[in-house]
Amino acid sequence: MTDSYMEIKDDKAVAHIEGPAVIDTAVQIHKVFCDALESKKAVVIDIINVSGYDSTFFQLIRSLCYSLRLENRTLELDEKCKSDLFYETAKEMGIDLRNDCTRNCGSDVSKECYFTKLIKSSVKSQEAPL
């Protein structure tokens, strides 16, 4: 069992995820994310000490991202989100970090999709004209 937890730091809700972020720990991580959402503050996810990922964790992040956006709140990923393990697992799962997610929340993806905010692509810029 992991020791994931949430703390309020610098007026932000920081979700510290520890150990494997997989199906066995999904319930606990879900609770941490729910607590972060309840805090009504901007959320930061800290995955520095995550040892592995599976689909459940990516679903949880997507879900949190969607929930926060609906409340006009922000989500930040710790710098370590760009770690090879996180990035490679996301790629293997078909979650290409260079593209926006398919979750249609009605927001302007290029500005507000927290998880992929650095990614510029949109339907218009990618598609070849007929």
Binding site: I23, A26, V27, I29, H30, F33, C34, L37, D54, S55, T56, F58, Q59, L60, R62, S63, L64, Y66, S67, L70, T89, E92, M93, G94, I95, D96, N99, D100, C101, T102, R103, N104, V123, K124, Q126, E127, A128, P129, L130
Partner: protein, 706 residues
């Protein structure tokens, strides 16, 4: 088995042997390079599979033993050691013997057993499964040229798959193992966090896989997913991929083929000539998510298609050297015939004939360039055996040597490279045996214990310079001189420059080695090097500093067959020089002569250029024309003007050998036949410059009196 197929395999096997030898030597330097280990494994696997396919049973069986060993290494069940590398190299030597004896008439049982036993000693006791896998693999020759297929996989698992212990990532990893796999996660059904059950799967996937595996192989991957969700696996046909067209499938086509939109809706959207996906979403025919998925597929197929096209473009066929020579000769004859036609059409002055002649000239020129390009190969191909040679020699001699190849991708005519192999071997042997010191001697001399041999190739105008450089003890001019005097090659009183002394080592039988070894020192070699290089119109230059090292440079023509030349005449004789040596031509006017103040020099823009008369150099006794021309040539060491009677123009020059007649005229490197049947001699600009310098043609002398 068809003999021609066997011949093809024998050639292919040689390339694999060369690659294996180099890769094994690289592996010895970096024993944990798993990319390299995989490469070696694949090469052995190909050798085994192709060998079995072409009837080389023993070769295939023995290659299998090596392959098994490298399979264990790549699976980290066995560590690479120097002993393994040595045995592998020895095994490759044995494989070469098996390759050359397809019917195994001289099969060496003892050698096979010794090597097989040696390999066996490295292996851990294999588990039964591995043995069975190996045995199965041994019987299946590698299928050559399998068609690449593209599959679209749609997988929407039941929500509870996580709790059933199914992890979708395993499927995607296994797909990647089949070939290239691109996955796209659909996340639109993921709810807000409070409504989410973290143990359910809300994500589903579309994957594009490019592989030569069958659809059953792909289905096998999802065998545990059967009955626990929606799964479709479909091969994308060439027509769907539009492989024959330049464009990738359009969004409309993809949505249509997936059933996400109807034909009528496509046509309605097409009424507005905007981005299809955007319009289709706006008009409510499909969702943004589905367009995003189609976009993924579009970009993936674009990548895949590029790869397929690139595979097609880079595919090659193997052509025998002899056939290539026949083609080159035919093109050479065509070039000569075309020159004849050009002359004929110029004489006739008929517009239509001139147009035909000019068009043919363009085609001939293009054909000539293409043939020449086909003949060009990277020089590294000629150096592949050097890594092995140096490794083995260094071990025999108990020296430490590192080989570095610089500019290996420089291209040369295949014929030149073929002629280069023996000289290179002699030079490298000499470097190792005589030049490089033993580690303790090197340390005592303040050098690194490991000696360096550098093989360097670089372009030099129409030539390629190949240098063999070592940081050994260098040539001892005093010792060479003394040996030459002792052998009666020069008189003790002869006053020679250091360069002239170095040239003595090219004399037949000349050696300063105190003892002969099985590697070198018999005085056979350097004369052969020089002869071989000169036979291909090249030259050998030696630079050496005692105690620091030696550089032997071989200047080689890029091609031996056809060159672009500049045709000119002196008296009744016609000559050609390689046009790449020529920078410009101008008339030798009285003003130029006067401005030089009675000296054979020319002020050209900001440069002062000396010039010489070709009639003087070649002793042509015909009166010069009133208006002479100067050809400005860039030679190896200087810019030099060559005064000739008249410049005829550019000429596609088919190089023919001159035989013994001109053997002693170093400036003449060949001859060519002109369209009207006349012969022009091909001159080497560098050798003319060399002769000018050697004979001290005085550029300060009085202006010639006509």
């Amino acid at each position: 088995m068809n003999m021609s197929f066997q011949k093809v395999f024998m050639e292919e096997a040689q390339e694999l042997f060369d690659a294996l030898e180099n890769d094994l030597i690289r592996l010895e330097e970096n024993k944990n390079d798993y990319e390299l280990i995989n490469q070696i494994f694949r090469e052995m696997h190909t050798l085994k599979g192709s060998g079995a396919m072409f009837g080389f049973e023993q070769l295939s069986k023995f290659a299998h033993k090596l392959e098994t060993m490298y399979d264990l290494i790549r699976n980290k069940k066995l560590d690479v050691t120097s002993e393994i590398i040595s045995t592998s190299l020895e095994s490759i030597d044995f494989l070469k013997v098996l390759r050359d004896d397809p019917e195994n008439k001289n099969f060496d049982n003892a050698r096979e057993k010794r090597l097989a036993d040696l390999i066996q000693t490295f292996l851990p006791v294999p588990d039964q499964a591995l043995r069975e896998k190996d045995a199965a693999q041994a019987d299946v020759p590698e299928a050559a040229g399998k068609r690449q297929k593209i599959y679209r996989i749609y997988y929407k698992p039941d929500r509870d798959i996580f709790t059933k212990g199914i992890n979708p990532i395993v499927f995607f990893r296994n797909l990647s193992a089949l070939g290239k796999s691109f996955c796209f996660a659909h996340e639109e059904e993921i709810p807000v966090i409070k409504e989410m059950n973290p143990e359910l799967c809300y994500t589903f996937w579309t994957c594009i896989v490019i592989t030569d595996a069958s659809i059953d192989d792909v289905k096998d991957i999802f065998i545990f997913a059967e009955g626990s969700g929606e799964l479709t696996i479909k091969e994308i046909s060439d027509s769907e991929l539009k492989i024959e067209e330049s464009s990738v499938p359009l969004i409309g086509d993809i949505l249509l083929s997936k059933g996400d939109i109807t034909r009528e809706e496509v046509e309605t959207v097409l009424g507005n000539r905007r981005f299809f996906g955007e319009r289709a979403v706006e008009m409510g025919f499909t969702s943004k998510e589905k367009v995003a998925s189609a976009l993924f597929e579009q970009s993936t197929l674009q990548t895949v298609k590029k790869e397929l096209v690139s595979t097609t473009v880079t595919s090659s066929i193997r052509v025998q050297n002899e056939k290539l020579n026949v083609l080159t000769n035919a093109v050479s004859e065509l070039v000569t015939l075309q020159a004849r036609l050009t002359q004929f059409s110029e004489a006739k002055k008929e517009v239509e004939l001139t147009a035909i002649s000019e068009y043919l000239e363009k085609l001939t020129s293009s054909l000539r360039d293409t043939v020449m390009m086909i003949r060009m190969v990277p020089v590294e191909e000629g150096f592949t055996s050097m890594h092995r040679l140096i490794r083995d020699l260094a071990k025999d001699l108990k020296k430490e040597v590192k080989l570095t190849i610089v500019g290996g991708d420089t291209e040369l005519d295949k014929a030149v490279i073929d002629n280069l192999k023996d000289p290179m071997m002699h030079l490298v042997r000499n470097s190792l045996d005589h030049a490089l010191e033993f580690p303790d001697e090197r340390v005592a001399a303040g050098k690194e214990p490991c000696g360096q041999v550098i093989i360097k190739a670089e372009h030099l105008g129409s030539h390629v310079m190949i240098s063999v450089i070592d940081d050994g003890k260098g040539l001892d001019s005093e010792k060479i001189r003394a040996k030459a005097v002792e052998k009666g090659l020069i008189a003790a009183s002869d006053n020679l420059t250091e360069d002239e002394i170095f040239q003595l080592i090219f004399l037949p039988g000349f050696s300063t080695a105190e003892k002969t070894t099985n590697i070198s020192g018999r005085g056979v070699g350097m004369d052969v090097v020089k002869k071989n290089i000169e036979s291909i119109r090249g030259e050998v230059i030696i630079e050496s500093i005692k105690g620091s090292g030696t550089k032997i440079k071989m200047k080689l023509p890029i091609t031996l067959a056809i060159i672009d030349g500049l045709l000119f005449s002196v008296g009744d004789e016609l000559f050609v020089v390689n046009i790449s040596s020529v920078s410009e031509c101008l008339e030798l006017t009285p003003e130029i002569r006067a401005a030089a103040g009675n000296r054979n020099i020319l002020k050209l823009r900001d440069s002062i250029i000396p010039y010489v008369y070709l009639r003087d150099i070649l002793d042509i006794n015909k009166s010069p024309k009133e208006h002479e021309q100067i050809i400005i040539m860039q030679t190896h060491e200087q810019t030099l003007g060559l005064v000739v009677d008249s410049v005829e123009g550019k000429h596609q020059t088919v190089v023919k050998t001159t035989g013994r007649l001109f053997a002693n005229v170093k400036e003449v490197t060949g001859a060519t036949i002109l369209g009207d049947g006349r012969i022009a001699l091909i001159l080497d600009a560098n050798r003319i410059a060399q002769k000018v310098n050697e004979n001290k043609f005085d550029i300060q002398s009085e202006i010639r009196v006509k």
